[in-house]
Amino acid sequence: MIKRFFDWLKQPLGLIAVGIAVLTLFSIAAYGLYTTQQPPEQPIQFPHKTHVAFGIQCLYCHPGAARGPAAGIPTQAKCWGCHNQIVKTQTSLLLAPLKEAVESGTPIEWVPVAQVPDFVQFNHRAHIAAGQNCENCHGDMTKVNIAENPQVFNMGWCLDCHVKNAGEDHVKLVKLTDCGTCHY
């Protein structure tokens, strides 16, 4: 029975069937990978590109980055400071959810994209104080519309930069590569 099946596979028709099966599997895998690379559906289609192009500083909307571990996402109060004076706010469909959030006072539930796992303790402050730019880790936000994560925040990526930054400074190298610096 099994031998008959293999014989059939060796026929031209069988080869085509195998080809189709392989192609189908490949496209499913490719599509699966593609979906993981897409930014998630956000409550507001917030365009970083436009806002950063106006010259708004990253730290204006993400002030936590200079102060502590989390950069933070602005509340609608901050958006409204500008948007209640902008004519387009009243008409734009993209801004309707913002208007609604301000009127009802319910928080906007942004979907996080830049994240490390729970067992990693990251701290923005140390990096900003050491002169690291947002671009080094988050890519060029002047080009993105809806925030996506350009890199995988894996351990090798963290450590490569840490080793490079510590240079000859042994104490710093020990500190920046110590498991207890990031995992606890």
Partner: protein, 241 residues
């Protein structure tokens, strides 16, 4: 890993963070135990699993009976936590290198994501202060709201133990760095020391002779538990002083 012949030599080597516990003023109120569980997201295992000896604490109050009946006496309350040994017996036995010595902070670390749950470290600890997550214990609402975001929530199959509140150490260091200064002695302390109403627990730098812990530890009648095993613990106890 340190071999026995090296122990004597490394005895001169002091750790970085240490603790002094005064058993004479400890009332055994368990405030430290509760504070520790709150700070470090320790699971509540419940009655049934506790019965199997699977309770989880990073610090516990020990008491022993002394003497023969009817002349039994109770020993003073003895808060027992990870002694953060300089030559720890738990470290060399881990097949996955999940329990490593922090070179930067001189602490025994438990890297939860590296741990595969062999429990060898726990069995090799003479102080029996490591606890194992036998299950994913539930945290029903409101309890889930008090999880500490600075501490990893451990999963089933992972060993855990006292970290000397390393998240507080990092926070204090980060704050000091932002203000361009060194961490001051007494600026922060561990959750157990902070909660202790009798101030029986003191935490700080043992490598700094000026710090309060060093001053207390030098008072003379201090005792380190199971010191004869060569573990070089960083916790000093005072009893009957």
């Amino acid at each position: 890993m340190i071999r026995p012949e090296e122990i004597k030599m490394s005895a001169e080597h002091v750790g970085k963070w240490g603790m002094v516990i005064d058993q004479d003023i400890c009332t055994g109120c368990q405030a430290c135990v509760a504070a520790c569980a709150m700070e470090n997201n320790i699971s509540f295992v419940g009655e049934k699993d506790s019965g199997y000896g699977r309770s989880m604490h990073w610090i516990r109050i020990e008491r022993f009976w002394e003497g023969e009946y009817p002349e039994v006496k109770m020993t003073p309350n003895q808060p027992m936590l990870c002694q953060q040994c300089n030559s720890a017996t738990c470290e060399p036995v881990c097949p996955a290198f999940a329990t490593v010595h922090s070179q930067a902070e001189q602490l025994n670390l438990q890297i939860y994501n590296r741990c595969v749950g062999t429990r060898y470290c726990g069995n090799n600890c003479p102080y029996q202060v490591r606890s194992f997550n036998w299950r994913d214990y539930e945290r029903p609402e409101p309890l889930s709201n008090q999880l500490n975001p600075d501490v990893t929530v451990r999963r089933m199959g992972v060993m855990e133990k006292c970290t000397f509140c390393i998240q507080r150490i990092h926070k204090a260091q980060d704050k000091a760095k932002a203000e361009g200064r060194e961490v001051v002695d007494g600026e922060f302390t561990t959750a157990c020391a902070q909660a202790c109403p009798a101030s029986a627990i003191t935490f700080g730098r043992v490598d700094d002779p000026e710090s309060l812990v060093s001053q207390l530890a030098q008072r003379g009648h201090g005792l380190k538990h199971l010191e004869e095993l060569g573990t070089l613990p960083n916790v000093t106890y005072f009893k009957g002083g």
